[in-house]
Subunit: 471 residues, 2 copies
C-alpha cells in the first residue's frame, strides 16, 4: 500500500491539496499536520473583523476541523512538523503526546509565512499585535470593546480565551500606531478609524503600498489623510516603548504616544522544517518548485506562502505570497498527487486593496528597475479617466498606470485606483499579462461599454491608447 500523502500546514494550500487529493483518489490516506489550533481561515478578512464589519471570527473559517474530517482527511492539530528526512521519506512531528516519526509517499510543505516583527524592538509589550493570527485578531477586537460590552464573535471553541478575556477587561485604546503602510497597514487604518481612534501610520519608504506604484500610493495617502489618519512617511520606527504595555512609538527621532500598535512590515516564508533537507530555496527564502509544485526532491511538493512561483511576465521564480495562489497551487498539487498531473500556474502578483473608499489594484511589473533587471526596456504612462460615461451619475476619476516594454510593446504590468469599481478592472490587466498581449493588442480588445458601468473607452483602454503611442 502507498504511504500516505502527508500535508504540513492546515491552511489554504494544505487543505486545498488534501481535499482535492481525497476527491480524486478517495482511497488515498491523507494526513494533515497543523502546528496550531486554527485551520483554513481567511487572513485577508481579519482587519474587517477588527473593524466590526464582520460579526464573527467563525465567519472567517472556510472549513471547521469537523468539516475537514468529514472529507475523510486525518487532521492533526497542535502537531508541528519539525524536520523532514527525504531519504527515508519521513517527517518528525511534535504533538501533544510527544515526538514521533511519520512516513510519507508524497509530502506537501504548506507551512505558510509568518509576520516579521524583529526589526521593531518592544514588540513583546502587551498591546502590540500583528494581523497574522486568529488569536491576535480576537484579542485586538476584545481590546477595542469597552469592558462593559460583550466581545462579539470571538467565541470559537479553540480561541485563546485567556488572552481575549485579558484584553476585554482593559480600557479600550484611544490611539493606535500602525507600523508599515502595506495592505495590512492601510486596512488597519480603516479598522481603527471605524472605532474612532486617533491613528498614526508609520512607513519607512516614502510611499504607501509600494508594490502598487506611485500613482496609487499618492491617492491612498491623500485618502488616509482625508480620513484623519496621521501619516509619518519616510519614517523608520525604532521601537515600541512602555512599561508592560505599549505607550509610545519611537520613530525618526520623535516619540508619539499610543495605546496600541499593529506591526505589518512584511512576512517571511516558514521553511525551518526543511533545514538540512536537500530542498532548494530561492533568494526569498521560499521553496523553489517546478510547474507542478514539486521541489528539487522527488515526491516533495511545496505550495502557498512558503513557496515561490513562476512569474508570468519575467518567467522567473518569484515569491508573492497571496491567497488565490495558495489555493490554486494546493489544489493542483492535490490533483497531481492523486494521479492527475496539474500545473500550479504562474503568478502576476495581482493584488487589490481597499483604502477606505479607494479601490486599488496592481498586476505584473510596475517598477522600472525590476523590469530592467528582467531584461525589459520599460516605459510607463498614467492616465486619469472616468469610470462611467461622463454624464452618468456616479462617474468617478480612475487612475490607470500601464507599463510596457518599449521594443516589443509587450505589456509588463499595470495599476489602478478609484472609488467606482476600480479594483476588479485590474483583472483585465492580469488576463492580458497571462496571455502575453502587447499594449496595441490590449488597446484593440473589445471591452464592455454601457453608461452605468464604463465609458466608451474603458480606463484601461485609455491608458493602453496613450502608451501604445510610445512603444
Amino acid at each position: 500500500m502507498t504511504d500516505p500523502f502527508v500535508v504540513v500546514g492546515g491552511d489554504a494550500a494544505g487543505l486545498s491539496a488534501a481535499s482535492k487529493c481525497k476527491r480524486e483518489d478517495p482511497d488515498r490516506e491523507v494526513l494533515v499536520f497543523e502546528k496550531g489550533a486554527w485551520v483554513s481561515y481567511a487572513h485577508c478578512g481579519m482587519p474587517y473583523y477588527v473593524k466590526g464589519e464582520i460579526e464573527s471570527l467563525a465567519d472567517l473559517l472556510s472549513l471547521t476541523p469537523d468539516e475537514v474530517r468529514e472529507r475523510d482527511i486525518d487532521l492533526r492539530r497542535e502537531h508541528e512538523v519539525v524536520a523532514v528526512d527525504t531519504d527515508r521519506q519521513t517527517v518528525a512531528v511534535e504533538g501533544p503526546d510527544g515526538r514521533f516519526e511519520q512516513s510519507y509517499g508524497d509530502l506537501l510543505v504548506a507551512t505558510g509565512a509568518h509576520a516579521t516583527t524583529d526589526p521593531i524592538d518592544g514588540f513583546e509589550l502587551s498591546g502590540a499585535f500583528t494581523m497574522h493570527s486568529m488569536d491576535a485578531t480576537a484579542a485586538l477586537r476584545a481590546f477595542l470593546t469597552p469592558p462593559d460590552e460583550p466581545v462579539r464573535g470571538a467565541d470559537v471553541e479553540y480561541v485563546d480565551a485567556a488572552r481575549v478575556a485579558a484584553y476585554a477587561d482593559r480600557e479600550p485604546p484611544e490611539s493606535a500606531a500602525i507600523v508599515g503602510g502595506g495592505y495590512v497597514g492601510v486596512e488597519m487604518a480603516e479598522a481603527f478609524s471605524a472605532h474612532g481612534l486617533d491613528v498614526h501610520l508609520f512607513q519607512r519608504p516614502e510611499r504607501l503600498v509600494p508594490p502598487f506604484g506611485e500613482a496609487v500610493g499618492e491617492v491612498v495617502a491623500e485618502e488616509l489623510r482625508d480620513r484623519g489618519v496621521t501619516l509619518h512617511l519616510s519614517t523608520e520606527v525604532e521601537r515600541l516603548e512602555g512599561e508592560e504595555t505599549v505607550e509610545a512609538v519611537r520613530a525618526g527621532g520623535e516619540t508619539v504616544e499610543t495605546d496600541t500598535a499593529v506591526v505589518g512590515i512584511g512576512v517571511r516564508p516558514n521553511t525551518a522544517l526543511l533545514d538540512g533537507a536537500p530542498v532548494e530555496c530561492g533568494d526569498s527564502g521560499a521553496v523553489v518548485v517546478d510547474e507542478y509544485g514539486e521541489t528539487t526532491v522527488d515526491g516533495v511538493y511545496a505550495a502557498g506562502d512558503c513557496s515561490e512561483s513562476r512569474h508570468v511576465v519575467t518567467g522567473e521564480s518569484d515569491w508573492v505570497p497571496l491567497g488565490l495562489t495558495a489555493n490554486r497551487e494546493g489544489r493542483a498539487v492535490g490533483a497531481t498527487v492523486a494521479g492527475a498531473p496539474s500545473r500550479v500556474g504562474g503568478i502576476a502578483g495581482t493584488a487589490v486593496v481597499k483604502a477606505f473608499d479607494q479601490e486599488c489594484g496592481r498586476s505584473g511589473l510596475l517598477d522600472h528597475e525590476r523590469a530592467r533587471a528582467a531584461g525589459f526596456d520599460p516605459v510607463s504612462e498614467t492616465v486619469t479617466a472616468g469610470s462611467r460615461s461622463g454624464y452618468y451619475p456616479g462617474n468617478a476619476e480612475t487612475r490607470v498606470t500601464l507599463c510596457a516594454d518599449r521594443e516589443s510593446g509587450r505589456l509588463l504590468g499595470g495599476s489602478i485606483v478609484g472609488t467606482d469599481r476600480a479594483a476588479v478592472r485590474i483583472d483585465t490587466v492580469a488576463t492580458a499579462l497571462e496571455a502575453g498581449l502587447t499594449v496595441a493588442e490590449l488597446e484593440r480588445t473589445d471591452l464592455a461599454y454601457a453608461p452605468p458601468f464604463s465609458p466608451v473607452w474603458d480606463p484601461v483602454l485609455v491608458a493602453a491608447k496613450v502608451l501604445a503611442g510610445e512603444v
Copy 2:
C-alpha cells in the same frame, strides 16, 4: 493637392475618424456630411435621459458642432450623401441649397444604422417612439413631463422644438408598451418604471436579451417582474392600434391598452447610398472591410454601425453594431488615411446592460448552434458564485456561463449577471477571447482577490474551473 477626406456621417465613427485624421495630418482637408442636425451623441445614454437620471440632452453630446469646427473639420449638417461614384471619386450630396457633387481623395462611410419598425403596423401613430434619435428622445421626455412642469434639459438649439412642445402639452402616459426585449427594451422598462408607469414588455423570443444567453435572460426576467413590469414573452406584436395616437397593442391575439409605445426590435445598417457602387456588403447588409477598415474599393472605408468587423473568435466577418467598435474603427481609419496605417481591431461582441439592479455582460460565442456553424464543438457550464468573500457585507450571487471548444479547450464566450460589480467582470472574458486563451489558461490566470471585491476564486475562475473539467 490631394482631394479631401470625405466622411459621411457625423456620429461616433465619422467624427473619431475626422478628428484623428486632422490630429495626425493637420493640412489635410476633412469634410463631414451629416444628414441630420445632431452630431456625436451618445445613443446609449438616451434611456437614462428619458428616465430622468441624466438632466440634460446636452449631456449626451460628446462634441457640439462648434467643437467639431474648432478642430478645423468642415462639418456640414443637414447634408445627405445620396450616392457614391467610386470611378470618378465623387459623392452626390443633397443639402439645404440643393444637390451637388463633391470629390474625395479618401471616403469614409460612417452612416450608422437605423431602428427597424416596419414589421410593426401602426408605428406612425403619435405616441410611438424608437430610441434611436435625439429628437424622439426629447419628445418622449416631454411626453412624460406633466403639462404644468417645464421639460427639463431639452433646450438644445437644434432640437425639434415643435415636436417637443406638442408632447409637452399632452397629459403624460400612465402606461407604456415596449416592443422588444433587447437592450433598449430592458433599459426603457427601467426608465418608464421610474416615472411610475404601468409597463408591459412584449418579446417575440421566449427570452429577454437573447444574445446574453439563458442564464442571464432568466435573471433579467425575474428582475423585471419583481419591479412590476408585465412580461409578454414568446409574444409577437402584430400592430399598434389607435385613432391618431397609440391606444393599444395587439399581440398574440390579445389587446393590451397603452398610452405610449417604444419599439426596440433591432437595427439595420444604413447603406442605401452605396446602392450601385461596387462595394461589397455581407449577409447582414453591412459593408465588408479589411483589417484597416477599407472596403473592396480602394480609398473607400467604412466604420461603425454600417460596417462588419472581424470576430476574434470565429475569425469571420460579422456585424455587431456597438459604440466602442464605432469609435475605435473610426479612429483607426482616421490614422490610416492620415498616413499611419492602423488596424481597426476585432470584435468579440462584448456587451453590458443594466436591468434595474442586475448587471449583465456577455462576450464571444454563447449560442451552440452558432459555435457549431463556426466549426467548434461547444460545451458550456453555468455556475453561481459570490461576488465577494462570503463573510463580507455586500457579497451577491453572480452567475457566470462559459462556453469552450471541447477538443481544443479554447474559450469561445461567456456571460455574467449579478448585482455587485458583475458587468465589468466580463472584461476578463473579453480579454481572454482577444488573446485566444484556453479555459485551462483562464483558470490559471492570476486574478485579483480581496474580501471587499472578490472571493478567493473570482466567479469567472469558478466557472473556468468547472468547465476545464469537461474539455
